[in-house]
Amino acid sequence: MTELDTVIHAPARLRVVSTLAALRAGEEITFAKLQKLLDMTAGNLSTHLRKLEDAGYVRQTKEFAGRRPVTYLALTTDGRRAFEDYTTTLQDLLRGAGS
């Protein structure tokens, strides 16, 4: 496989996916914490999350903590697999370039 997944292969989305992939399996992160870790604007992060959600890579769960709405985010199984395939492809490309 040498084709890079175009959904992931954009710096902003790659940062989002690799951040979510660094969480333990089954772990979720709030939108606010993810925004802080990535240092992105809320609007920009929302746009990229929507693209990732449309691709089936990210799952959003909206809840209330008291009266405050909280959005939890996590990679789906497909998202985690896509990220693993993406990193494998990157490593293959690098090995190919080095040989």
Binding site: E27, L37, Y72
Partner: protein, 216 residues
Amino acid sequence: MSTAPDSRSDHPLDPAASLDLIAESQRRVRRGTEPDCRLICLVWGIAWAVGYLVLWTSARALGVPGVVAYVVFGTLLAVAVVVTIVHSARRAAGTRGPGHRATVLWGATWFLAFGVYPFVIAGLGRAGASDDVTGLASNALACVIIGVMYLTGGASFGDRGLFVLGAWILLTGGVATMAGMPATYLVMATVGGGGFLAITVVWQVLHLRRRAGARR
């Protein structure tokens, strides 16, 4: 709020730059969600080194540590506990899941263990233990609790740093108990507190080296 990273979002990177970006993102996640062992180790190192030196100095002068020495020691430990809890809770905030639940249960185990701790020490006193035995046992039991908690924490969360700390504390407890009174306090201050501070320095050097390596 910075928007700097967003401006690059539409330009795909080459494979090496993409792998670097993945590594950097994952480092940021660890920094943002896991406690900084250097800070915790530094705070405990100062608390132990200063607190136990005060106990040792007081015990040498009076035979057993005086009330003021215990107050200083207790205050230092309380500050270390508060810093550890606040720092760990801040880092863990904003995430949830099986790992988070395990962390909460692990935290509760600390409270259970140290909730029972004074009863065990009081029980020894009621059974006729001398001041020396009570002093040695209270140190040894605290070291065993903290050591085993760090070891299990390190094993559960895959944190080598925490595991190393636990092993160090457990060993310190054994050596300090064998030293007897009041030398036990000196061992706790130097081997325990000094050990924490030495581990902090080692982690800081490794951290700076990794950061320099990542920049290259």
